[in-house]
């Protein structure tokens, strides 16, 4: 087993990996940029090293600096988390060259899956179901027209090197194809330095369902059930769950076996995710493979009882998988809400800043993976993911009820978060009925009734509370150390110094 692991990441996932290291008796090494010195992952690590300015390109994406810290600190492995360098095959190779174990697949597997056209070619050979289309870049507009006519409109043009919706165009009629191809090619060139574009049949209102796989370095590969990830905004997942409301044991087995076939075709090792598009007849098509740990891995952990990060580390250390496919049992239902620093009432604008008050949920069926704390200032420089709230229940209904309960306990003051969005989703009848597809969230946001609990009773309470806060601050001068502070007597007010502060703030508002 490794003695020391460097975590080439920040935020909640870095904290997640620090915890796994602690549990395995491994020293956890954090890295941080200028604005992350006070971040939670630094507080929680065993060692921490500065790696540069806020810009990710000069810190968390800076391969030489990270390898230098790994060498200096004596780390024998690197966990890349998700994002940043996690799917960078050159980094994976650089680790190998430096004699440091990269906790993830090989550079060769990553490269095969990094190009969408190459992945399609390999998967075609392996007999994996693909959305009808080309597995090579389009040579000409004529070829595009020929293929599109054959597979039938609507079609989707996609950049081979693509990701995040860049270089993608949905085309409904032959007349729009030529212009769309040119636009997609030039966007792909601008975004990825590679203008290769291919064409696929567009699946109307698909579901996005993915299968978690684990493969050791001894040829054993298993699947750990699926995750329904259809709730997305701008191609970003917002809420994920497992099992999917539409997947039954037979479909799970078929998808799982295909996912294992995908992994084996890529000589895949460690944790990975095979993404499928699922049409309305429940046909599923290979979309792509994510060659890393996913943000949403906790829902799989809760329904399988396994720890994926422990297993990633053990696999990377050369251990065999400690179970076979038959040992894996799926029980209950789990859902994850991604808590982002963004304002759902203002077009989801990002909302960095200081967290002035933080109340966190806990109790039955609630797991919280968080990178924030009260008093911390969310920097402007990175992804706005603050924390993940994951709910487990005996069944889907209980998981939803527990999450609604926990969201009502969750309070993040000082910045805006999307907590209210989850209340809206979880109470929506279509969501509760499991009627989901990748267009679901846009429809909810544009047409769905906005959940507004604002009423005059609430406003009156707010008015009274405003006065109570002011009065408690103004009136009390008695320090409150004793147990009598719990009563409603005069001692229940805060102590003098904090009064002074709060009064000052209230004055400032006049």
């Amino acid at each position: 087993m490794f003695k020391k692991i460097l975590i080439a990441n920040r935020g909640e996932i870095a904290v997640r990996v620090v915890r796994a290291c602690r549990e395995l008796g491994i020293t956890a090494v954090a890295v941080y940029s200028d604005v992350d010195r006070a971040s939670l992952h630094v507080r929680k690590a065993d060692e921490a090293y500065h790696i540069g300015p806020p810009a990710a390109s000069e810190s968390y994406l800076n391969v030489p600096k990270i390898l230098d810290v790994a060498r200096r600190s004596g780390a024998d492995a690197i966990h890349p988390g998700y994002g940043f360098l996690s799917e960078n095959s050159k980094f994976a190779q650089a680790c190998v060259d430096a004699g440091i174990k990269f906790i993830g697949p090989t550079a060769a597997s990553m490269e095969m899956m990094g190009s969408k056209t190459r992945a399609r070619q390999e998967m075609e050979k392996a007999g994996v179901p693909l959305v009808p289309g080309t597995s090579r870049g389009l040579e000409s507009a004529q070829e595009a027209e020929r293929v599109a006519a054959k597979i039938g409109y609507p079609v989707m043009l996609k950049a081979a090197a693509g990701g995040g919706g860049k270089g993608m165009r949905l085309v409904h009629t032959p007349g729009d194809l030529r212009a769309a191809l040119e636009a997609a090619q030039s966007e792909a060139q601008r975004s990825f330095g590679d203008s290769e574009v291919y064409v696929e049949k567009a699946i109307v209102n698909p579901r996005h369902i993915e299968v978690q796989v684990l493969a050791d370095e001894h040829g054993n590969t298993v699947y750990l059930g699926e995750r329904e990830c259809s709730i997305q905004r701008r191609h970003q997942k917002v809420l994920e769950e497992s099992p999917s409301p539409i997947v039954d044991p037979e479909m799970r087995r078929r998808m799982g076996e295909i996912a294992v076939r995908v992994a084996k075709a890529a000589h895949y090792t460690n944790a990975g995710t095979v993404e499928f598009l699922v049409d309305q007849e429940k046909n599923f098509y290979f979309l792509e493979m994510n060659t890393r740990l996913q943000v949403e891995h906790p829902v799989t952990e809760l329904i399988t009882g396994l720890d994926l990060v422990h297993l990633q580390i053990r696999i990377a250390a050369g251990e065999k998988l400690p179970f076979t496919q038959d040992d894996i049992s799926i029980r209950g239902h789990a859902m994850e809400c991604r808590i982002y620093a963004e304002d759902p009432d203002n077009n989801f604008f990002p909302s960095p800043g200081k967290i002035t008050l933080l109340l966190t949920p806990s109790g039955p069926g609630i797991r919280r993976d968080s990178g924030m704390y009260e008093g911390w200032t969310v920097p402007i420089d990175y992804d706005p993911l603050l924390a993940k709230l994951i709910g487990y229940g005996t069944d889907r209904q209980q998981a939803i009820a527990r999450l609604i309960r926990a969201l009502n306990e969750y309070f993040v003051g000082g910045i805006k978060t999307n907590i209210s969005l989850f209340r809206q989703i979880l109470r929506d009848p279509d969501f509760q009925a499991g009627k989901l597809d990748t267009g679901y969230l846009d429809r909810l946001l544009s047409h769905g009734p906005k959940l507004d609990l604002r009423d005059s009773g609430g406003a009156e309470l707010a008015a009274i509370a405003a006065g109570v806060f002011a009065q408690l601050e103004a009136a009390s001068a008695v320090p409150n150390n004793g147990f009598s502070g719990n009563g409603s007597g005069p001692k229940s007010a805060p102590d003098k110094a904090s009064n002074w502060k709060r009064t000052a703030r209230v004055e400032g508002l006049r």
Partner: protein, 165 residues
């Protein structure tokens, strides 16, 4: 103690006093059976005739909000002492208004120059944070008296970016 409280733009007159650990509360002249205790900083436990509420206070550089359960209310509070010798709110509305950064970020564009006429709601500065651009708007129709923001500068939440007269 009498307070004037504004919640989401609506004014309330609150008469609040406390003796022997019991609250006396009148809201717009109506008696309210109320008990309240500060549990932790910025979190009140309020009981109104048996109903229990957890009320959170959120203070940012620009404003104060109160959360009743999961609903957020904009709140302003004036007490009699502070009203003495102080101009009414109307007078303020007619004077110069500040354009304030609602979040920390970097100024990427300045959209109005000094002496420009601006409409209420017109974007005057663009601040970028977390890879997203946010247009900061003029709070009133008027003339750009002072533009304090410069392109490329980092700003904190609450920083004054411009003043509209």
């Amino acid at each position: 103690m009498i307070y004037e409280v504004t919640i989401d733009g609506k004014n309330y007159r609150l008469d609040l006093s406390r003796a022997d650990g019991r609250w006396q509360c009148r809201l717009d002249g109506r008696e309210v059976d109320m008990d309240a205790v500060l549990t932790r900083r910025d979190v009140l436990s309020v009981l109104i005739a048996g109903k229990a509420y957890e009320i959170k206070r959120e203070i940012t550089p620009t404003d104060m909000h109160l959360w009743v359960g999961s609903v957020r209310y904009a709140a302003e509070l004036r007490d009699p002492r502070s009203l003495r010798g102080r101009k009414g709110a109307d007078a303020d509305a007619k004077g110069p208004k500040k354009v304030v950064a609602p979040m920390p970020g970097k100024v990427v564009r300045v959209l109005a120059r000094e002496k420009d006429e601006v409409e209420a709601g017109q974007g005057v500065v663009v601040v970028e944070a977390m890879k997203m651009q946010n247009e900061i708007k003029s709070p009133k129709k008027g003339v750009m008296q002072k533009m304090l923001a410069t392109e490329g500068a980092n700003v904190n939440a609450g920083d004054v970016l411009a003043i509209v007269e």
